[in-house]
């Protein structure tokens, strides 16, 4: 369908592999290339277009609106996200860092940018899993934010994951609406542009922070998820749902914590689930299940360790993984 769309060579190369794989084999392989290709097209659109708009985010019963401006200039992304409801939150992403401004708390949090610049990073195995564990369909999606869309549906073939519906601009490929649907058919999380403008002309002002420098009475917190050492952690999750494969493993320094945590990431090609293992201390946040929209987190104590699993998956899935974490048998 969309073989090349002006993506960097490495991504076109990956697309070509997907197309080749599709051409070689069965209708299943055909569909699998198609789903992965669609994901890549939409990912590329989100990265490489210039646009601004208003975004509505619904998580359960909660609504939030944001103003977003995104610019792609000289192969670099910059982005500014401003919350329009409640306390002001401003998130500015540049090529090298992400800054979170919390003006009410007088805090700015600065993080180096690390992983996302290599996306899309679907391995051939993930691409295959995407087709095996979700039924993919592409249909006309009607209008969203005044634009004609195509709707992609990822329907799970088992109860271990959520259904995803994506509406992308039929012309530009930009994702304009997405819905996460649970096993009961409830929309548990929704993301939607209510208006979108594609900007032919770049305006750097739109993606600059509102504060040219950090006010002197603000607290600056730095680092965070940036520090990551890829490594064999000695931990493993024994009951990971079929289709989820480990895509990352290492030790990570989490802000505000003394000891680094083991961090394992599993993905089925559409979503990711993270496993954290760290020494148990009494001051840590609570044990148990928490949920925010499509995101579930389950924390449990395992002897001297605390295991935390977080991901866009049903609570039962997250809980099952958490309870299966153990030391690797040598």
């Amino acid at each position: 369908m969309h073989a090349c769309w002006g993506a960097p060579a490495i991504i076109r190369g990956m697309g070509a592999i997907a197309v080749l794989a599709a051409a070689l084999a069965s209708p299943v392989a055909d569909a699998q290339g198609f789903a992965a290709q669609w994901m890549m097209r939409v990912t590329q659109a989100a990265r490489t277009l210039n646009y601004s708009g208003t975004i509505l985010v619904r998580q359960g019963a909660r609504f939030d609106t944001f103003r977003l401006a995104h610019m792609f200039d000289n192969e670099q992304e910059s982005e500014k996200l401003l919350s329009l409801d409640g306390p002001a939150r401003e998130i500015v992403r540049s090529a090298t860092e992400v800054r979170y401004y919390f003006p009410d708390a007088k805090v700015v949090r600065i993080e180096p940018r690390t992983i996302r610049n290599v996306f899309p990073s679907l391995s051939p195995e993930q691409t295959a899993n995407l087709a095996q564990y979700y039924e993919f369909k592409l249909t006309p999606g009607g209008r969203v934010a005044g634009r004609i869309t195509e709707m992609a549906t990822f329907e799970p073939r088992d109860g271990m994951r959520y259904a995803h519906r994506f509406w992308a601009d039929a012309t530009t490929g930009l994702l304009l609406r997405s819905r996460l649907v649970n096993e009961k058919g409830d929309v548990i999380e929704e993301f939607a542009f209510t208006d979108v403008t594609y900007n032919a002309k770049l305006d750097k002002e739109m993606v600059r922070p509102s504060w040219t420098s950090v006010p002197s009475d603000w607290q600056v917190t730095q680092a965070g998820p940036g520090e990551f050492k890829s490594n064999d952690t000695g931990w493993t999750a024994n009951k990971v749902p079929p289709g989820f494969i480990k895509i990352s493993e290492g030790f990570r320094k989490l802000a505000g914590k003394r000891d680094p945590a083991a961090h394992l990431v599993f993905s089925d090609g559409l979503v990711a689930i993270s496993v954290f293992v760290e020494p148990y201390t009494v001051t840590q946040t609570q044990i148990g299940l928490t949920q925010a929209g499509g995101l579930a987190q389950y924390s449990t104590r395992s002897d001297a360790y605390r295991v935390t699993v977080i991901g866009e998956a049903p609570p039962a899935t997250v809980q099952q993984i958490a309870q299966s974490v153990s030391r690797n048998k040598p």
């Binding site: 271990m160 409830d186 929309v187």
Partner: protein, 176 residues
């Protein structure tokens, strides 16, 4: 469930609820209810009904199969147009009265996909809502470390960062 179906037929279902109602139709039982209500409505309005025994069942089965193959595109117009004509029908009431009288036999004969196998499977996969705390105190540190890895998040503009903005747990860090 039956109430939802009648509300769905009356166009009284909000957009947010719509997905769930349509998903409910995927169970054989709900599909039969849907068909049954239509048959009742047709009968009460004196329209030629499809509810000849057997035909309705086959229709129901075919419709069910077709629906199962659809990515939920059974979308009614979003805005409901209220007219002064008595076009909207009180389905719930009709169902209550008529189901046991006029076409009661039809309704029962159509229930040819009995068990709640699907519902059972779903229940098993669902943790009771009471077990989950309603709103985010998902610890931001884990979220921030996790979010970069999700393909589904990567295609959303501004995401995964809006998640960080909506998580209430982001507080000034204690200095180590």
């Amino acid at each position: 469930m039956k109430e939802n179906i009648s509300r769905l037929m009356d166009g009284e279902v909000e957009d947010a609820e719509f997905e769930r109602c349509v998903a409910e139709l995927r169970s054989g039982e709900a599909m039969d209810t849907w068909t049954c209500y239509h048959v009742i409505g047709d009968s009460l309005r004196g329209a030629h009904s499809i509810a000849v025994h057997g035909v309705a069942t086959r229709f129901s089965a075919r419709f069910h199969a077709a629906l199962a193959a659809e990515p939920t595109v059974l979308a009614p117009p979003r805005e409901r147009i209220r007219t002064s004509q008595p076009a909207t029908f009180a389905w719930a009431v009709a169902a209550t009265i008529a189901a046991v009288t006029v076409v009661g036999w039809t309704a029962f004969s159509m229930v040819d996909v009995p068990p709640n196998a699907i519902a059972k499977a779903r229940e098993a996969a669902t943790i009771r809502a009471a077990q989950a705390k309603p709103q985010a105190d998902v610890a931001s540190e884990y979220l921030l470390a996790h979010q970069e890895f999700s393909p589904a998040m990567a295609i959303q503009s501004g995401a995964p960062y809006f998640r960080a903005a909506t998580v209430t747990a982001i507080e000034p860090q204690r200095r180590p």
